[in-house]
């Protein structure tokens, strides 16, 4: 063990611990900007500089390893003076002029720069901000870049390359001209971006945000002639209360329904309903393909970030994807047929909105093969902004129930929101579909948790043991695809583009207080608590899904089900 003192407090740490980590161990907060848990060390912002052994040169705490006998001062007069000046220089490159006013910033309520200013104790701003006059990148259906706000902390670059295994961003030029850009400056919509939005979560300045659909949804709600219905994704319910001050993982399903009803939606439904339906369709497909030994392993198709990833990087494996649409698109397809017909709503007047933890869902809804089944997609953040703007605090509301027709779901649908959940839900029903019997133990623990790659073997009958895999975060998806290419045998593999699955989606609230792992763990616990508290926990038990098949679709995999609920994919490569 290494012994040192930080601000006169003795600390013992393992070899290889950085001064930043050592300081956090004794609850000394050193401000950072370019540092982010789970990313490589960049050491670019220099805000974490500390004094070591009264040496003249200050050392960046994030990039300096603790050594025996070090005497570290994290807030000496010299350190504080330098830190303030550095922050002034950084802010001068972050345009906070009238045009990009803080008040309209995507991070108006969660500004990391403001937190850092507070941590440093900023009391002066001597430099005028530089306006670089760079154009916004509006090329993507999912994500907007506002480069004038960028302070080149490189977090988006590292997040995309290291966590997602892609690397669509790079620095071009140098010195004060340094600009974060995409390949050939083509814009995010024209390169191999998967629209996952993880860069938004990493950006401390609001230079990246989702393409807003809020105004269009307000217009639809205000228009008396429109019949506006909404679906809410599984992972939204454990995060929507966060912008209102609640802990991550707080379950606010009923409160969300109540808030949406107050906003004026004409029908409030649950993407969970179509998640159960997805299991029926995808489960049936898996059972069929496994028994015919056809294009194995079957790869899940719920995560639109993953879908775009495989279209770009493994187009030769598109035939392995399940043809089932994602729950969002199944909902859209049914809303514009089953719902419209059942309720007698004119398609001209029907507006379908979804609330998703996801930015890639915006792109998915614009795919030509999806028609216009889903009109607008709001992220969890946008939904929270709208609810706030309607004068509602979600935490104060009494819980209400979803509307019946497409609002009933089982616990299997709730766990779609977390890594391993689609797999677990599918296994619960696949067992039933093959054997006609119910699984004895429906908690399938090996596929749960935040481990990047998970594997399990589930015995079905004497002849068949299903081998399944789970990967979340696209760098893990890459590893999984390499394992498959190297001959590792699977029947069925779940992929989710975002770390932790949808609970860690690019559209989820951004927490300034907790680390991303803490946030994910709490949301995950919330999801599993909903599942275990439900009476019905297997998709095939959903009475409204059964009714849908009886009255409308026939049986899983029927011609009509195929027409409405299945899709095809586009080989993209790297053009």
């Amino acid at each position: 063990m290494i012994k040192l003192t930080i601000d006169n407090t003795p600390v013992e740490v393992e070899k290889g611990t950085t001064l930043l980590e050592a300081a956090r161990q004794v609850h000394i907060n050193i401000p950072t900007l370019c540092y982010e848990e789970n990313l490589s060390i960049y050491g670019g912002c220099r805000l974490c500089v500390v004094e070591v052994n009264e040496r003249r040169q200050l050392m960046p705490a994030c990039a300096t390893e603790a050594e025996d006998g070090m005497e570290v001062k994290t807030h000496s007069p010299r350190v504080r003076e330098v830190r303030q000046t550095l922050f002034e220089l950084i802010i001068a490159s972050h345009d906070i002029s009238c045009e990009l006013n803080c008040l309209t910033c995507t991070r108006q309520a969660s500004c990391e720069l403001r937190n850092v200013a507070e941590d440093i104790g900023i009391n002066r701003m001597r430099l005028n901000p530089i306006y670089r006059g760079l154009d916004k990148d509006l090329s993507s259906y999912s994500v907007v870049r506002e480069p004038n706000k960028c302070i080149t902390c490189d977090r988006c670059i590292r997040k995309c390359e290291e966590v997602q295994g892609i690397g669509i961003f790079a620095n071009s030029d140098r010195g004060p001209e340094t600009t974060v850009t995409t390949f050939q400056d083509k814009g995010m919509g024209n390169v191999e971006c998967t629209n996952c939005g993880q860069c938004i979560i990493s950006c401390p300045t609001g230079a990246l945000h989702e393409v807003y659909h809020m105004d269009s949804v307000w217009d639809a709600l205000y228009n008396e002639e429109k019949h506006v219905i909404v679906q809410t994704a599984p992972a939204v319910r454990v995060a929507i209360a966060e912008p209102f001050g609640a802990e991550p993982g707080t379950v606010a399903t009923g409160q969300l329904v109540a808030a949406l009803r107050r906003l004026g939606f004409d029908g409030i439904f649950d993407t969970n309903f179509t998640a159960d339906l997805t299991i029926m369709e995808e489960g049936t497909e898996v059972v069929e393909r496994v028994s015919n030994n056809e294009h194995l392993p079957v790869l899940t198709s719920c995560s639109p970030g993953w879908i775009k990833f495989i279209e770009h990087f493994y187009p030769e494996h598109l035939k392995n994807l399940s043809t089932a649409k994602s729950p969002q698109q199944m909902f859209g397809a049914l809303a514009k047929t089953y719902y419209a017909e059942t309720m007698g709503v004119d398609l001209e007047d029907l507006v379908v909105v979804s609330i998703m933890p996801c930015t890639a869902k915006k792109f998915e809804s614009k795919r030509p093969e999806m028609a216009d089944d889903v009109d607008y997609v709001l992220t969890t953040r946008e939904a929270a902004m709208m609810i706030k703007a309607a004068g509602i605090n979600i935490c104060d509301l009494e819980p209400e129930e979803y509307d019946n027709l497409m609002g009933v779901s089982t616990g299997a649908a709730d766990i779609f929101g977390t890594s391993g959940g689609v797999m677990e839900a599918a296994l619960r029903s696949a067992y039933y579909l093959i054997t006609g019997e119910e699984l004895e133990e429906i908690d399938i623990k090996p596929v749960r948790g935040l481990e990047g790659l998970k594997k399990a073997e589930v015995p079905i009958n004497e002849d068949l043991t299903l081998k399944v895999g789970v990967a979340h975060g696209l760098s893990n998806a890459k590893k999984m695809m390499e394992m498959i290419a190297d001959g590792e045998e699977f029947h069925f593999v779940e992929f989710m583009a975002c770390p932790g699955g949808c609970i860690g989606g690019g559209g989820q609230p951004i927490s300034a207080e907790l680390t991303s792992t803490e946030t994910l763990q709490r949301r995950m616990d919330g999801i599993y608590s909903i599942d275990s508290s439900k009476k019905l926990r297997q998709s095939h038990e959903n009475p409204m899904v059964q009714k849908l098949y009886e009255e409308y679709l026939g049986k899983p995999g029927s011609h009509k089900a195929h027409k409405l609920l299945h899709t095809e994919y586009t080989p993209r490569g790297l053009s």
Binding site: I168, F169, F183
Partner: protein, 139 residues
């Protein structure tokens, strides 16, 4: 896997630029594959160096130094004259693909400013008139 820091990378980019006059997109894609790096990263590495181009350049690349020493010898005046003559601003290429104009840092002839380069050829102690004559000869 090759490292971008490896000097072989720069040598390859130099060769590509010598062949095409710039570094075309398909070559960046190939470098990305060779070095097993995201293509944006290769693009960024190339863009770090001001002497590499990722867009086609004119047949004649005109570089005018505006570092301190040349600046004191009125390089700005020279630049204005060349800008007016070519109808181009810094970094632009003429529609007929004949000229590209670049304002650059020190070209290593500080005692002989102002200086201008046309492709690989250096011209020193330039007057505005002489500079325009050189450009006319290119046309």
């Amino acid at each position: 896997m090759l490292e971008l820091e490896n000097e072989i990378f720069l040598e390859m980019v130099h060769n590509i630029q010598e062949t095409y006059g710039y570094v075309p997109e398909r070559e960046i894609n190939q470098l990305a594959e060779k070095f097993d790096q995201p293509r944006a990263k290769i693009y960024g590495a190339i863009k770090f160096y001001s002497m590499f181009y990722t867009e086609p350049t004119g047949k004649y690349v005109i570089r005018i130094c505006d570092s301190l020493s040349c600046h004191l010898n009125d390089s700005h005046d020279l630049l204005l004259a060349v800008e007016n003559f070519l109808g181009l601003k810094n970094g632009e290429t003429s529609p007929d693909q004949l000229f590209t104009l670049e304002v650059v840092e020190c070209l290593g002839h500080c005692g002989e400013g102002p200086v201008m380069m046309v492709n690989d050829k250096m011209y020193t102690e330039l007057s505005k008139g002489r500079a325009l004559e050189i450009l006319k000869e290119c046309q």
